[in-house]
Amino acid sequence: MKDFTIKNKRKPLNKVVIFIFWIVVWQMIYFMIQRDIYVPSPFSVFIRLKELIMLSVFWKSVAYSIYRVMAGLILSILLGVGIGIVSSMNDYVYDLINPLMTAIKSTPVLSFIIIALIWFSSSNVPIFICFLMCFPVIWLNVVTGIRNVDEKLLEMAKVYRVRKSTVLRKIYLPSIMPYFSAASITCLGLGWKVSVAAEVLSHPKNAIGSHLYSAKVYLDSSDLFAWTVVVILLSLLFESIFAQLIRKITIKKIPS
């Protein structure tokens, strides 16, 4: 008798097929509701998007929104990594910082936006909100990454008197990187969401959020959907660029 195993290899669905499927679902919802004000058709959103990209104000708004998200994100990475390193090395610092992070994480983002509206100019509110929401994520992941560094490898390095800079480069950094990159990718998505939300409420000049707010005021659903599609596309684009960048910099090819 011959032994054999059947491998049930699932063929992944083509991304184009998935995209078409959801467009069809959207179109069907549009047919069911039949009212543009609630759900515009994919076609009308596409037409509006085409119109928007012809306008210089569109590119200006996109550029400024990108700047705000990136500024908030870079600030949260710099401070999150710096304070994360100090917190993981000193338990007193960790004990002091941890309640602050818990408070930030459990406070509604709207409360922060309203406070920020009092403190900052409308253009800086999204930067501050993006920083505030991403900072705890980066901080927590850096602390977790450092605390999960293999103690046995550190002992080995200590016994063999390996230079501290080498230990940092060859043990600490590769150990922290998976945590850091996961946190950064999470923050890219989160950053876009909270920055645009802050723009909606603070409506600065040249901002995607401000256009979303205007669309809501004039009940222009096609415009609202078109700008939302822009945010989704930008978020996906930045996520994939960042993921590739991280992969290039850090991940060594370990054959399985």
Binding site: K152, A157, V159, Y160, V162, I254, P255
Partner: protein, 234 residues
């Protein structure tokens, strides 16, 4: 060169692992730390290497000394190749070219030169342990600590490495601490066998083998008596 352990105390959690231990070790001898598992041998050796602090007491003769430690586990960096693992240690003490040369030399000693570009996960347990042994030998510390280093190695390679330690390294004025449960390994390689019991870790007896390691094959009756002496305790 001499290492003196004086009035050493160590508590681990609620257990008194070491209580007032006093010992002397002389160099140019291979010291075997022999005893049942869990009696505190590894903690004792970790105090000697500075990985663990003693609660009380002190150890003299270790000032400025470097250690080559072969741990029970391989402790190789998983994201570095075998050669990179060697260079991780060696480049802190030698120039890049010297480090690379030493790595190659010692990897051939343990028959791993062909696998220098392999990652630890691509190697068997025995191969990883050989890489760890090569790293320790290449570093060449003043004090060599081997915590069950030959576990998982085939007999031929084990004998080859033990012969290398006896014939080559033994002449280099080094301390060797060899932790093992294996009576045959202890009798093959050690000059002084320190038989411990625990807990707390207490030196039960010390057996000094007068026959040089390289001649032990010729004196089987005498070695049999040493074996009886050692096994008499267990």
């Amino acid at each position: 060169m001499k290492i003196q352990v004086k009035e050493l105390f160590k508590k681990y959690k609620d257990l008194q692992v070491i209580s007032n231990l006093n010992m002397d070790f002389s160099s140019d001898r291979i010291h075997c730390i022999f005893g049942p598992s869990g009696c505190g041998k590894t903690i004792f050796v970790n105090i000697l290497t500075g990985l663990v602090d003693a609660d009380e007491g002190w150890v003299e003769g270790l000032e400025g000394k470097s250690f080559s430690y072969i741990f029970q586990e391989d402790r190789l960096i998983p994201w570095a190749t075998v050669e990179e693992n060697m260079l991780f240690v060696l480049e802190s003490h030698y120039s890049k070219s010297e480090a690379r040369q030493l790595a190659g030399e010692y990897l051939s000693l343990v028959n791993l030169l062909k696998f220098k570009n392999s990652y630890p996960e691509q190697l068997s347990g025995g191969m990883k342990q050989r890489a760890a042994i090569a790293r320790a030998f290449a570093y060449g510390g003043d004090i060599v600590v081997m915590d069950e280093p030959f576990k998982g190695l085939d007999l031929e390679l084990k004998k080859g490495l033990m012969d290398y330690i006896i014939n080559d390294w033994n002449h280099k004025n080094r301390f060797f601490f060899f932790i093992t449960h294996d009576v045959d390994e202890a009798l093959y390689i050690a000059d002084d066998i320190h038989v411990f019991q625990g807990l707390p870790l207490t030196l039960k007896k010390q057996i000094t083998i007068e026959i040089p390691s390289c001649d032990r094959g010729k004196y089987r009756n005498e070695m049999g008596r040493y074996k009886d002496l050692l096994l008499g305790d267990f």
